[in-house]
């Protein structure tokens, strides 16, 4: 239902452009006809309330949650390190989640093609919630709002980073959670 709602929003947002409007209507229609799983395989879109569960899992796994966007060059640069980390530590119960902050009207034209082209293996979700002043401090009170930003957490222990990573630096941070 939320996904449908977000698609509707996407439709409204892109309605300023006539050409896009017809494209989006088609997409929305397709999704409606073919049930939610199509949309789910393409992209999960959440507002912050819906997204919050990804920061609150308590299943003894280590979650590496990276906030990024296709337009953010330093984010795109570090993504392969997260992918590598996910591969290398697959057996250690480490899961990487990419949280896209791309503009909703660019999901179809930029975000989804990017994820496919780069063959991103880790889970990608989109966070679409304009009331940033409310949700940014809930992610971390010290986050000024620049991206890339990353949270690593395991159950109740978490650490927040408002910075770019090299693979080594990222691995070092992860190791603190492995001990």
């Amino acid at each position: 239902m939320r996904i449908l709602k977000c698609l509707l929003l996407l439709l409204i947002v892109s309605s300023c452009n006539n050409k896009k409007e017809s494209e989006s209507s088609q997409t929305a229609k397709q999704v409606e006809e073919t049930a939610p799983e199509i949309a789910a395989t393409d992209l999960e879109v959440y507002d912050f309330n819906g997204f919050q569960k990804f920061l609150q899992k308590k299943d003894d796994k280590i979650y590496v949650v990276n906030f990024w966007a296709t337009w953010c060059a330093p984010c795109v640069k570090e993504m392969p390190y997260f992918e590598k980390l996910s591969q290398e530590y697959k057996d250690k119960d480490v899961e990487v989640l990419f949280v896209s902050l791309d503009f909703p009207h660019l999901y179809e034209s930029k975000l989804i093609p990017f994820v496919k082209d780069k063959n991103i293996q880790s889970k990608v979700v989109a966070l679409n919630d304009v009331d940033m002043n409310t949700w940014i401090p809930k992610v971390d009170e010290n986050w000024s709002g620049s991206i890339p930003a990353t949270i690593i957490y395991k159950n109740d222990v978490s650490k927040f980073y408002e910075k770019s990573f090299t693979y080594e630096a990222l691995e070092n941070e992860l190791k603190q959670f492995l001990q």
Binding site: V13, A69, W71, C72, A73, P74, L101, F103, P104, V130, D131, M132, N133, I136, P137, N142, W143, S144, G145, S146, I147, P148, F160, E162, S164
Partner: protein, 205 residues
Amino acid sequence: MKTIKILASLTLVVVMSAFTINKVVVADGYKIGDVAADFKLMNVDGKMVSLSDYKDAKGYIVTFTCNTCPYAVGYEDRIIALNNKYASLGYPVIAIMPNNTDVQPGDSMDKMKERAKSKGFTFPYLLDKDQTVYPKYGATKTPHVFILQKTSQGNVVKYIGAIDDNYQDASKVKTKYVENAVDALLKGQEVPEKETKAIGCTIKV
């Protein structure tokens, strides 16, 4: 006795280091109430601009922004509108482009000139060429606004944060943080919301 003393100091060391580790390193920069330093930066018209050039100003809407960040671009029209509304009331917009132009060539002075011309910027658009101004302010991203009020003590920081609460659609904005802040200052009142958060593009170093 000596053992106890050693133990006590050890405990102290442990407690202190624990505190240091837990304490998240907060980026240096201005806090609300700090006096902001003036600067002298080149504008897109080739002239050098300082805050002190604005003799009649009551304060300033210092806005770190750039050509290349989609969030900053999304706010351009609203930044122009802010200047059009508040410059004549004594709060001009002073826009500063903080990125390293070697890393982000789309933000070079030439590109800034093009952008200022095509958008019809009514405010100075300054290049922080040596990247010394934005760290002093503590700007971390574009767009990032600092509202200063001119007082006898200097230019006091009264607001830090976002322009409003909807980066996607200006027509759906519920709270205009910057306008509310300047309106309050013009009436001699406290700024209702002094700090806000928003997603933005990291300043390129």
